[in-house]
């Protein structure tokens, strides 16, 4: 078995483990579990690399890319409004209002806010939502990177 096959097997294991630990939870809520699900197969593949004189640095470069791409694609599939609309339209053509109503029936603003609450990014304040310290950190990071 060569290192490409080992890396591919570890990648499949990480993707599968991620789905197991998420169990319908959104990525932003289950981030710590996801990191663990990706750390275990990486450690196993790195151990194999050390024993077989393969490059751990090359494996790590591959792993960083694989995680970033998986995270981006998985998160996009989970949250993209545009993809949900395409998915809805496969049933039949719809007028704008119908399509938006169909979208909102499963992905309403209150559902998104509830997800932010579950992720610990916002909390109910006196009459309005307020951003938690964790949410403030996310906002600060995103404004730096946007």
């Amino acid at each position: 078995m060569n290192e490409t096959a080992v890396a591919a097997a570890a990648l499949l294991a990480a993707a599968g483990l991620s789905e197991l630990v998420l169990r319908g939870m959104k990525l932003q809520t289950g981030l710590v579990r996801i990191v663990a699900a990706w750390a275990l197969p990486y450690a196993a593949a790195a151990g194999w690399s050390v024993r077989h004189d393969a490059s751990v640095i090359v494996l790590t470069i591959f792993w960083i890319g694989a995680f970033l791409a998986w995270f981006g694609i998985r998160s996009h599939l989970e949250s993209s409004i545009a993809l949900r609309m395409i998915y809805r339209l496969r049933e039949r053509p719809m007028r704008e209002g119908e399509l938006i109503d169909a979208y909102l029936s499963t992905q309403s603003e209150s559902m998104r806010l509830a997800e932010l609450r579950r992720a610990g990014l916002i909390a109910a304040g006196a009459g309005a939502m307020c951003v938690t310290p964790k949410g403030k950190l996310v906002l600060r990071l995103t404004s730096l990177l946007r």
Partner: protein
């Protein structure tokens, strides 16, 4: 450290710098492609016949560039981040407006077309995407 590994680490560092300094998605995509192409080319010359390692590293660099590109787009367009920003008093997020704009994006991207009866229907590219999505949503249990 081998020459191949040095090229790989340099490419990751350059991609991170590009992500920080190059803000537009299209410009970042071009910059990322140039970095990956240059470093993969250099690494190939330095790979000393270790094609497996070179292929694995190049795949990793391509995935890094793709992942960072998706992340850049998400940072700008994410509705959840807009809502978080609204809760933080940064701006007025317009949820319904965001949704309407996505429909226009789909139309201009050639995924849907508006018929004479004002209904939106999938184009052939849209149907192919919808078929793929149906499979992915079922596998990932996102089909709710």
């Amino acid at each position: 450290m081998t020459g191949l590994e040095a090229y790989g680490l340099a490419a990751d560092a350059l991609l991170a710098l590009a992500f920080w300094f190059v803000r537009g998605a299209a410009r970042f995509a071009a910059c990322g492609a140039a970095i990956v192409a240059a470093c993969a080319g250099g690494a190939f010359a330095a790979s000393a016949g270790r094609l497996d390692e070179w292929a694995l590293m190049t795949a990793g660099l391509l995935a890094t560039a793709l992942g960072l590109l998706i992340l850049r787009v998400m940072l700008v367009r994410s509705v959840s981040l807009h809502l978080l920003g609204r809760a933080g008093g940064l701006h007025d997020a317009d949820y319904a407006g965001d949704i309407q704009r996505r429909l226009l994006d789909l139309q201009s991207g050639g995924m849907v077309r508006r018929g004479l009866d004002e209904r939106f229907a999938l184009t052939s590219a849209g149907r192919a995407t919808a078929a793929l999505l149906a499979v992915l949503y079922a596998v990932l249990r996102l089909d709710r």
